[in-house]
């Protein structure tokens, strides 16, 4: 027992120092007053002066329409991204599950590989494809659909496209795993009893895959809600999402308490989806 405690100690201390303490400090700074100096805030509590905290940063999140809009927009964008990913991922996962066993692993690797190649190269590709003289615009012009280049890059559409492209692998894999594990005899039974293919799909396959679909949706929704890089590189400047607002408050306005308050609010919004996701994945784990 003693030896186990010794083995547990290094990761436990590491996690306490680098996961638990930072979140506690974040909460502390969200309660402090912004001040000139390095670092640019007044600690909410000191032994000399006692409690000096303020709810001002948190209050300004609710009072200012700008931040409310940012939260709303982030949730909308995350929802749209997750919905598009799910719509694209479902047939892909079905296709993987329906292919011969020896093809399943290579196909899953093909889906996963773009995730390993990193965000930035793929976003670079979309910048090159969508800019005024880029491939997409040249194709559109060659097809005679437009006479001049359409403004495609730095729009909400480009941002959504980039997000879906980045997160699609996250959605396909849990769905494929669920569909592979499903009990096919239930479908066969439904078919034997006279149900047509579409009816089998709608009444058996689809309901059986719902937990996997929900997990896939959340796996995209959670990171998408706080996304910063993709809106910054592909989206319009006015698409102020939470991740971006936080970045601006921190790096440009140097308002650390407000940035911390934004981070806390984002966490609070995501607690529900995160715990739902953990319950789903906990149930599926052995």
């Amino acid at each position: 027992m003693m030896r186990r405690a010794l083995l547990l100690l290094p990761p436990l201390l590491w996690l306490l120092l680098l996961v638990a303490a930072p979140v506690a400090i974040l909460a502390g700074i969200a309660l402090s007053e912004s001040a000139a100096g390095v670092p640019p805030f007044r600690p909410p509590f000191t032994f000399d002066a006692g409690w000096q905290g303020t709810l001002e940063p948190l209050r300004s999140l609710v009072a200012d329409q700008y931040y409310l809009d940012a939260f709303l927009r982030s949730l909308l964008v995350a929802f749209a991204t997750a919905a598009c990913c799910l719509a694209l991922a479902y047939p892909m996962a079905l296709g993987i599950a329906a292919s011969p066993a020896r093809w399943q692993m290579p196909l899953a690797s093909l889906v996963l590989l773009p995730f390993w190649t990193g965000f930035l190269p793929r976003l670079g590709a979309w910048i090159g494809l969508l800019r005024d003289g880029g491939w997409v615009n040249r194709l559109l012009q060659a097809a005679g659909l437009t006479s001049g280049p359409l403004p495609l890059l730095y729009t909400e559409g480009a941002m959504l496209l980039g997000m879906v492209h980045a997160y699609l692998p996250f959605a396909v894999l849990p769905l494929a795993a669920t569909l592979l594990r499903r009990d096919r005899t239930v479908e066969e039974a439904a078919a034997d009893l006279g149900a047509r293919p579409w009816r089998v799909f709608c009444t058996v396959t689809l309901p059986l895959s719902l937990p996997g679909a929900l997990a896939a949706f959340l796996l995209v929704f959670i990171p998408a809600a706080g996304e910063f890089v993709i809106p910054e590189l592909l989206g319009p400047p006015e698409a102020m999402l939470v991740g971006r607002a936080l970045w601006v408050e921190f790096f440009q306005n140097r308002d650390w308490p407000l940035a911390a308050a934004l981070a806390l609010a984002l966490l609070a919004l995501l607690v529900l989806p995160i715990s739902l996701f953990q319950r789903l994945s906990g149930r599926r784990a052995p």
Partner: protein
């Protein structure tokens, strides 16, 4: 599979989806070999931009820094994450297990901006404390990025190792112990060889995560610690240049190699569903 709906439709969906995923990447790789100074414009076959890249000292310096950070963070992540995954899978119900599991899983689900900001605030507080105590504190830079990336990697390695151990029969270890092997011998001769593939795959995962991270690194780094993704991000903000295009093609090649290695390692003893967790 006569009754299976969309056997054809889902196959078309799969092909279209894979096309959507891969087309931009393949075009990017192809155009890296174009001589034209406008990216995604064909100007004849040339290695011009790879040569330009090789002469770009700032880029090379950032790449070297990123590789060292990634290797160090991945190694730390494997040591700590391996212990974490082992404890979660094999130590039964110890006191504080729920908290331990929560902390180990948190970096997987926290938004990057939250992780980055909270870690930076920790480092600032620690620096302040060190300054008050010793009158001097180490600056932020490569070291703080390494600590942050090791923490992210730890969480991923723990998941991979825990999943691997959960799929193994504890009887293997118990048998060794019954036959008289001490706890250390059991670990070295039974557990470690069994989880070695998971550790290797976890190392690669942590390594690529570190090489790919812009957000957390931007928060916790200092003036002396510009990593490759930070540099690429700042250039992409201005638009795509052919040099970045060539770099992206090289990163893709490296990632394909690493992912191939990981697939080989995991493929030997895993199925699709195991790692999708």
């Amino acid at each position: 599979m006569r009754w299976f709906p969309g056997g054809m439709g889902s196959r078309i969906g799969l092909v279209l989806g894979l096309g959507f995923l891969w087309l931009p990447i393949l075009l990017l790789v192809g155009y890296a070999f174009s001589a034209d100074r406008i990216p995604f414009q064909w100007g004849g076959l040339s290695l011009r931009w790879f040569r330009a890249l090789a002469a770009n000292d700032r880029m090379l310096e950032a790449a070297w820094l990123s590789l060292r950070i990634a290797a160090g963070a991945a190694t730390l992540a494997v040591l700590l994450g391996g212990l974490t995954g082992w404890a979660l899978a094999r130590f039964g119900r110890f006191r504080g297990r729920a908290l331990f599991g929560l902390l180990a899983g948190a970096p997987l689900v926290l938004p990057e901006v939250v992780t980055g900001l909270s870690l930076l605030l920790l480092f600032v507080v620690l620096q302040g404390a060190a300054e008050a105590a010793f009158g001097w504190a180490p600056g932020r830079g490569a070291g703080t990025v390494l600590l942050a990336h090791a923490t992210l990697g730890l969480a991923y390695v723990a998941v991979v190792v825990q999943a691997r151990l959960a799929g193994l029969d504890p009887a293997l270890e118990e048998a060794a112990a019954d036959l008289g092997a001490g706890p250390f011998a059991v670990f070295r001769t039974v557990t470690l060889p069994l989880i070695a593939p998971a550790l290797a795959a976890g190392w690669l995962l942590a390594f690529t995560l570190s090489l790919d991270d812009v957000v957390v690194a931007s928060f916790v780094s200092g003036p002396a610690g510009t990593t490759l993704p930070m540099l690429v991000f700042s250039q992409l903000r201005m638009g795509l240049t052919p040099e970045i295009n060539a770099l992206a093609a090289m990163v893709l090649g490296l990632a394909a190699l690493l992912a191939g290695a990981a697939a080989l390692i995991l493929g030997r003893n895993g199925r699709v569903g195991d790692s999708a967790g």
